[in-house]
Symmetry: C2
Subunit: 435 residues, 2 copies
């Protein structure tokens, strides 16, 4: 093939290196599918001397000056893989302003600036693609924007953080404590030395903001997502879950109720064992979508890692090349039509699990039950276990669907109730069988 | 929006009616996403008087003459949903020859004539899309052709027939016999009165031919697929599977071994319970793909039915409209580059399960084991159970990986061995732990 589309790559870390490897190792097949050759012409790096031999062997040009890429008329596509918000966002804007199509896997930029970048790309008639930003190698962005485009999506929920799913799997299957599971994830390289963004749910929150924006055609950002992490989950919560027929998963969950509005949450959830997401273990991710025509659909795969994410980025590159060759860049618009209303806390309903440390004496359950009754919270089941030597007992309560506001208000009362020593855990339950 | 793209719909049965409903009920959102209005102008039906009120209420034009659609310059897209090979294939060709883009959900036509239709569409520079042909509403065709395009796909396997998956689920979970499960599937409308194409695996074989063609970029047709159905599965096979840690699923499996060639099969398989496909039950379908970059990925959803299939067809319509609006029809080519070699039976390896009815006397196992040894088939495990009053016993043998040729040759010997009364079942085992 004679024609070649040339790429400028920003960043050559884990994923950037993976993109170089995939595009070179599968060069011939990719050229046939894309309709022309694809070549990485220039890589932007801070320090050229740090490039590894596995990369330098491909003889790619190197620069530490972004302008060398922006001002190169041979480069049609800029692939941004430096991560974090700044200066990645400014680099993406600069590339689009120079008339170049952009492929990125940067969820942070998308969660904060998605809409403005979509608008800029539309204005400049270039492609702006980001399949790798959510779910690593899992095809989910393009399916949402194309395959499922005829649907009204009512909910999208997923296991979209591999680190926490690995930890919860270890806690469930091997009985590890939170601290042990974290240490093992760090030892395996699945968790960073500062695991805050993963275990506190921020990483998942950015991803569910991106997914919900595309699913509901509105612009949600990180601050629209209510976030709770897994750092309060104890081994006994996972045991109680098992006794009750559930598993504990950290889910990003966004729902669009035409009447009450949009909800977007990241929190640990008790999920029935029979749910397809319940058996997604280790570092696997999966996204579960409900649409009015398709019904339920799920997408599963490796949510992170060098080659899986490179698979998604290279798929976007091939798609962009097809658009370039057909003079059709920008053929799929951002589709974030208007700001839709968010659901108020008194309308946001879900069943809820409470684990309380209480004084083991008559009348305790009555006091707690009347606290719940005062908030119109109906109780589905109660388990009392583990009476301790100090006269305390553990009380587990699962409610029927209750509002987020009721949960908050009941917690305020519970926390000052004399018989309640501690509110140890509060988890949502995603169980359609609870009324 | 002022601009409108108009559609000619061939056939107004279950799926055709669903397409009309989805395009009309979600009209406004679809117009925003597609960038213009989409309208079904004319429906081709054999008998206009048979259209139901749920369809006629949308005031769509009706004809029994294909030329009314082909010769209508206002119609840019023809949606073929009449099913079966003829005259659907001729209608699709006629539409393409008239310069119209085509959307179809017709696996029969694709499995037999995919390559020639891809070539014709490329020549005429129109779109030819078929997301609904495999897996109903599940996004799998576009993910294969775009999201995963940078991968060398090594295997694609799936539960791609809802009828048989429903039956096997009932047999597994409720202990129904094959006949009972079939009767229940027919009562629920999941199986046709003549269930041959489903239970004998022909429907799944057409679908795996389409999937394998796209995954491996070659043209496979129905006759390239080795097909076995579920009509010989007995309740006891499912029980033995459970005892051994497996479930029985009817899978379409295609693999591409660069050295030995391509294999394409549909047969009932024993699958480890921990495999993601093992928990896909009832009428759900799922497709499991392995690529060199993405690793393992799975796509799950409703594999048939009015609205799920309409979801896929309407997604294709929206995508085609985007291409029309950007003058970019034909932007993704068929990609069936060349005929690749098929794997010969002596190189096609899989572990295998045999259930034999044998005489219960000393030396039987020795005779059978030496038959296997003569074919270089190594035995992984043996179970002897159910000694019957008539002096017969059931013998279950699982082998390590053995060639298809060895299986065939050993069967010839087993069938004439005096101690073997009957070879009741032969099933492949898809277990990476067996050497």
């Amino acid at each position: 093939m004679e024609k070649t589309v040339k790429i400028g790559l920003l960043g050559c870390g884990t994923v950037g290196g993976g993109v170089i490897i995939v595009l070179n190792e599968n060069k011939e097949e990719i050229a046939k599918k894309a309709g022309c050759n694809i070549e990485i012409k220039t890589v932007l790096v801070r320090d050229k001397t740090k490039l590894k031999p596995e990369i330098t062997k491909y003889n790619i040009g190197c620069t530490d000056n972004l302008d060398d890429i922006l001002n190169d008329p041979e480069i049609d596509i800029v692939v941004e893989l430096i991560g974090r918000v700044h200066p990645a966002k400014e680099y993406i804007e600069a590339a689009i302003n120079h008339g170049k199509s952009v492929v990125t896997a940067n969820k942070d930029v998308l969660a904060d600036y998605g809409k403005s970048l979509f608008n800029l790309a539309a204005e400049k008639k270039v492609d702006f693609q980001f399949e790798g930003a959510v779910g690593g190698g899992i095809p989910i962005i393009r399916p949402l924007r194309a395959c499922l485009a005829a649907n009204k999506i009512s909910s999208i929920m997923g296991i979209i953080n591999g680190t926490t799913n690995y930890m919860l799997t270890k806690m469930s299957e091997e009985g590890l404590s939170y601290a042990q599971a974290l240490a093992e994830a760090q030892a395996k390289g699945y968790a960073e030395s500062d695991p805050t963004a993963d275990v506190e749910g921020i990483d998942a929150a950015r991803k569910i903001a991106v997914l919900a924006s595309l699913a509901f055609n509105t612009a949600l950002t990180l601050k629209d997502v209510h976030v709770e992490g897994i750092d309060n989950i104890e081994a006994c919560d996972i045991e109680y879950a098992r006794d009750l027929g559930y598993v504990v998963k950290l889910l990003g969950i966004a729902k669009n109720d035409p009447e009450n509005g949009i909800t977007a949450n990241v929190y640990p959830v008790m999920l029935p064992k029979s749910h397809p997401l319940a058996s997604v273990n280790d570092v696997y991710n999966a996204i579960y979508v409900n649409g009015d025509a398709v019904g339920d659909a799920m997408f599963l795969g490796r949510g992170a890692g060098r080659l899986p994410t490179a698979s998604a980025v290279c798929g976007d590159i091939i798609d962009t090349v097809r658009n370039l060759n057909n003079h059709a860049c920008g053929r799929i618009s951002g589709n974030l039509f208007e700001k839709k209303k968010m659901c108020p806390p008194e309308k946001e309903m879900a069943p809820c699990y409470f684990r309380l440390l209480v004084t083991d004496r008559p009348g305790v359950l009555a006091a707690i039950a009347s606290t719940f009754a005062a908030q119109q919270m109906s109780i589905a089941s109660v388990i009392q276990k583990n009476v301790m030597e100090n006269g305390m007992a553990e009380l587990v309560i699962i409610t029927n669907k209750v509002s987020k506001l009721s949960i908050d208000l009941s917690l305020r009362t519970l926390q000052v109730l004399p018989v309640v020593k501690d509110v140890c855990s509060v988890l949502r339950v995603e169980d359609p069988n609870l009324p």
